[in-house]
């Protein structure tokens, strides 16, 4: 897998957010660097929810933070509504922030323990010199009672309620795109359902465009229109949600689905689809990054990195030997 390419991107005038060749690097000690995200491209149409799924270390969270330029990516392009964000610095970058908001995984750590809910939610309007009278409205919209909640501090709330406060803080600025980085993975099942339902409601009510990042494929499928599967900093497969789950073509996607206990699909047991552990991101395998765990890997996978190509209606894939009977391996480039 683990391929590069941009053939799956839609025309610029149809999309709200367009990310091309995103590369994020971190120092890994001893002068080495880790490429957490390595040439990832995707786009979002207005009102769409894109799910990004992958296991720990696949780069999904690093990609999310690179979208909001915190920190800015090493290279690549992030265009929001036609404006190139990676070229901006300082005040110019700050001015774009209203349009792009984020919700984090840890509900406790994402709220300042010393501030009251009214201050936390009202921070955005204050920073932007907007009237602060919408605090009550958004608190109500996320299912909190403004009269009792606004004067309290975060530690007086449960994890699910803290996540509602975070959502309110993001919503009050009327952002174009909201990036949700594992927003429900710290929550209990019953509360998780509440938050997922809330996100769907708010998306309709405020016409939001969402990037929804999670490691749980079932959760991602529940809220996403399209799903992008990542492995070790690369894109494996991108398809409409139902299509991806019912016709997974990439060996890694298939292993991921088969590993879920109630996958309920006619896939062979997961231990025949994947083996071993993910390699170190400091020293990724050559060619396709999934080949070291892939039962279908052949010589070509080590030599040549697969490019993203179309295998169905809006179904995109980066694999030389996908697990679909009707898809032929791509033609070897003439040497």
């Amino acid at each position: 897998m683990a391929g590069s390419g941009k053939s799956h991107l839609r025309p610029r005038d149809e999309v709200l957010l367009r990310v091309e060749d995103l590369v994020v690097e971190f120092p890994a000690g001893r002068g080495r660097t880790v490429r957490a995200v390595s040439g990832v491209s995707f786009d979002l149409a207005r009102g769409e929810t894109l799910g990004i799924v992958g296991e720990s270390g696949c780069g999904k969270s690093s990609a999310a933070r690179a979208l909001v330029q915190l920190p800015p990516p090493r290279s690549g392009s992030v265009r929001l509504d036609g404006q190139e964000l990676t070229a901006l610095r300082g005040e110019a970058l700050r001015r774009t922030r209203r349009q792009l908001q984020m919700i984090f995984q840890d509900p406790i750590s994402s709220l300042n323990p010393r501030r009251r809910v009214r201050e936390i939610v009202g921070e955005g309007p204050r920073v932007w010199n907007l009237p602060g009278d919408r605090v009550d409205e958004v608190l109500e919209a996320v299912g909190l009672d403004p009269a009792t909640a606004a004067v309290r501090r975060p530690h007086e709330f449960s994890g699910g309620q803290c996540q509602r406060i975070s959502i309110a803080r993001a919503l009050i600025l009327d952002p174009e795109v909201v990036i949700c980085d594992e927003p429900v993975s710290a929550l209990d099942v019953s509360v998780q359902a509440q938050i997922l339902g809330l996100l769907e409601d708010l998306k309709a009510r405020y016409r939001l465009t969402l990037v929804f990042i999670a490691h749980d494929l079932a959760v991602v499928k529940n809220v996403s229109d399209r799903i992008m599967v990542m492995y070790l900093g690369k894109v494996c497969e991108l398809a409409p949600s139902a299509d991806l789950i019912s016709r997974p073509a990439h060996p890694y996607t298939r292993a991921l689905i088969a590993s879920i206990p109630d996958g309920g699909l006619d896939l062979p047991p997961s231990d025949t689809l994947i083996s071993g552990e993910p390699p170190s991101p400091v020293d990724p395998p050559s060619g396709c990054r999934f080949r070291t765990r892939c039962p279908r890997a052949r010589e070509r996978c080590a030599a040549e990195e697969p490019q993203i190509r179309q295998v169905g209606a809006d179904h995109w894939l980066a694999c030389h030997y996908p697990a679909l009977p009707d898809v032929e391996p791509p033609v070897q480039p003439a040497i």
């Binding site: 209990d188 339902g197 529940n222 139902a242 689905i257 590993s259 879920i260 109630d262 309920g264």
Partner: protein
């Protein structure tokens, strides 16, 4: 507030207040002049006119101590504030800006710390003069490196937190982030350290005075008084003892106040406050038969006396388990599922009170002493925990950890234990066991670590394996590998497995029997397939419908359970689930429903299936059927 700080804190505050007031109002108090010689006979002990006696020149000791307090406290407060004024901005800059600013500031700090502090103080005071101002400045400067270190550390720990990132995403400017997000959080540790710093400065000023390098005579200072008094130690010990005691009490008070303030912010210690010992009468155990089965739990209870009230973490749980079976315990956080395991194993914190009985092959484990229990833990009961990152001791090699139970319980020698460890690691699917034994936990991936902990749990051939959320912290693909391994090992070793999990799909796939817990109680139990296909208790049913499944259509609306899990200190009367239950009626708020067996349509109880639920108004079987999770094959 008063109870939070304790009596010692308020005594300390009182003492500092008294000394401070005395120092401020010294000129208004009916005291002798501090430099008035022969105010009374020299070297006399306490008397009415001289409550603390007189010194060698007949000067009033009380007066000298009160005036000495002006120097000590003045320098203490002044130097700390000045040090804070210089050190805090530098610390915040280093901690927030990182990179070059941090490197430079910390390098300078390193040098400052390596510079002999006392030499600096001695030199400056000796050469520039021992005025109050100079002493204050010197001690303030000496305190700066410590301030920088502290403030930088605190800033760093908050600057990494997600709420700061969130503020940036909002478009907040740096200056506002510093003032609104960072400074309020750093203020508490700084306040605490300010008091400890005052203690340090008062002592340091005393040291200088003791060496004759602080504010010069005739102005009295505490250190100077002690130094002078030394010569009279044999004839008039009070002259040295009184200032010593006053200084001790003052320094102690500053330290106490600082320490209490720190305890308020230090999460690590807040849980360790001595628990109010509450006498809880031994819990009666319901009458029961000891059965001929591998593991039997009868009416297990675990209660904690907390400052807020009695927490019934586990409240009367019973089950039996046979060899070759897997019992799953399901519930959300706070349901008591993990505490149940620890209660059975006798691994509760000291503040817990345990009730009920646990029998292992008919042998009452709860009657055993801790020492007797140790011969069962390991050899007969194995344990695997949730987070493999914290389950292994970070400073010991895998080898020492895996061989330890072998040597302790099975009495193997070094070589035999090593060979056995290699065999064990290979049996849990570790490719190069010999090399693995030499490694440290941080060198392994999560999945590898969990394999190692499983190998350790199996090392003494247990009859029951307790696995508390064994795969929750692992990636999905690894999770499946580990669960397969557990299942395979259960077959090979002919063990019973107790699997604790919040993940219903995991339970549905791997368990034979299931217990659903809510607020410390069993609300539904039975064969896993049966419970998931035909849940009767509304909570079980709602939980199943709240969990997203791959087979659901996209944008499928999940069942939402309103409200939040109950507060264990303040449980609702009757059924604990009542406030969140869509089907609750009056009776649910009055009487707690007992666990009853599922009845057939004609009202006769179903024997053998063992499906039980605790609900006054169970869901009819028809509506429940379609929505349960499928228990697919392995």
């Amino acid at each position: 507030m008063r109870r939070r700080f304790g009596i010692g804190f308020w005594l300390a505050v009182g003492w500092v207040g008294v000394v401070l007031l005395a120092a401020l109002l010294a000129d208004l108090l009916p005291l002798y002049r501090y430099d008035e010689t022969l105010a009374g006979p020299p070297q006399t002990g306490p008397s009415w006119s001289h409550p603390l006696g007189t010194d060698g020149l007949g000067r009033d000791v009380l007066s000298r101590i009160v005036y000495g307090a002006r120097v000590s406290l003045g320098v203490g407060v002044g130097a700390v504030l000045l040090g804070l004024l210089i050190g805090a901005p530098l610390g915040i800059l280093a901690g927030y800006r990182r990179r070059a600013a941090d490197a430079i500031i910390m390098a300078v700090n390193d040098v400052a710390l390596a510079f002999p502090a006392l030499v600096f103080a001695l030199a400056v005071v000796a050469f520039a003069g021992a005025s109050l101002r100079n002493v204050l400045i010197v001690l303030a400067v000496l305190g700066v490196p410590a301030w920088v270190r502290l403030i930088r550390g605190a800033t760093l720990s908050f600057a990494e937190r997600e709420f700061v990132l969130a503020a940036r995403v909002l478009g907040t400017r740096d200056r506002r982030i510093l003032w609104r997000e960072i400074v309020p959080n750093v203020a508490m540790p700084a306040a605490s350290y300010a008091f400890i710093g005052m203690a340090v400065v008062v002592v340091a000023e005393g040291s200088l005075a003791f060496l004759g390098l602080s504010v010069q005579a005739p102005t009295p200072t505490w250190g100077g008084l002690i130094n002078e008094g030394r010569t009279l130690m044999e004839t008039a010990p009070h002259v040295v003892l009184v200032p010593s005691v006053v200084m001790f009490l003052t320094v102690l008070s500053f330290n106490l106040v600082g320490d209490r303030l720190r305890a308020l912010t230090d999460v690590r210690e807040s849980g360790l406050e001595p628990v109010r010992q509450v006498t809880v009468s031994p819990m009666p155990v319901a009458e029961h038969q000891v059965r001929d089965t591998l593991l039997q739990a009868e009416d297990v209870r675990t209660h904690f006396a907390t400052p807020r009230g009695l927490v019934k973490a586990v409240d009367g749980v019973s089950f039996t388990l046979e060899r070759g079976r897997t019992l799953a315990i399901v519930g959300e956080s706070g349901s008591g599922k993990s505490m149940l395991i620890r209660s059975i194993l006798g691994l509760l914190p000291g503040s817990a009170v345990r009730g009920g009985k646990v029998y292992l092959s008919g042998d009452d484990l709860t009657a055993r002493t801790p020492a007797e229990m140790r011969s069962v833990l390991g050899p007969r009961l194995g344990t695997v925990f949730q987070d493999p990152m914290t389950a292994l001791n970070p400073v010991r090699t895998i080898g020492t950890q895996v061989t330890e139970p072998l040597r302790v319980h099975r009495g193997l020698g070094r070589k035999e234990a090593h060979a056995e460890a290699v065999r064990l690691l290979a049996s849990v699917g570790i490719a190069d066991p010999v090399r693995m034994l030499r490694r440290y936990p941080h060198q392994l991936s999560g999945g590898m670590r969990q394999r190692v902990t499983i190998a350790m749990a199996l090392s003494c051939g247990p009859d029951v394996l307790f696995a508390d959320e064994p795969t929750t912290a692992l990636d999905v693909t690894i999770q499946d590998q580990v669960l397969r391994l557990l299942h395979q090992l259960r077959e090979e070793h002919h063990m019973a497995v107790v699997l604790v999990s919040h993940d219903l799909s995991v339970v549905a796939r791997w368990a034979d029997e299931v217990i659903v817990m809510y607020a410390g109680k069993v609300v539904e139990r039975g064969p896993a397939a049966e419970v998931f296909r035909r849940p009767r208790m509304p909570y079980t049913q709602a939980l199943l419908q709240a969990a997203p499944r791959l087979s659901d259509p996209v944008h499928h609306r999940l069942r939402e359970i309103p409200g939040r899990p109950p507060d264990l200190v303040d449980l609702p009367p009757g059924c604990s689930f009542r406030p969140r239950c869509a089907y609750a009626q009056d009776r649910c708020g009055q009487e707690a429903p007992p666990l009853v067996g599922v009845a057939l349509a004609n009202g006769a109880p179903v024997n053998g299936s063992g499906h039980q639920y605790a609900c006054w108004y169970p869901r009819p079987i028809e509506t429940a059927i379609a929505e349960g999770a499928e228990s697919s094959g392995r």
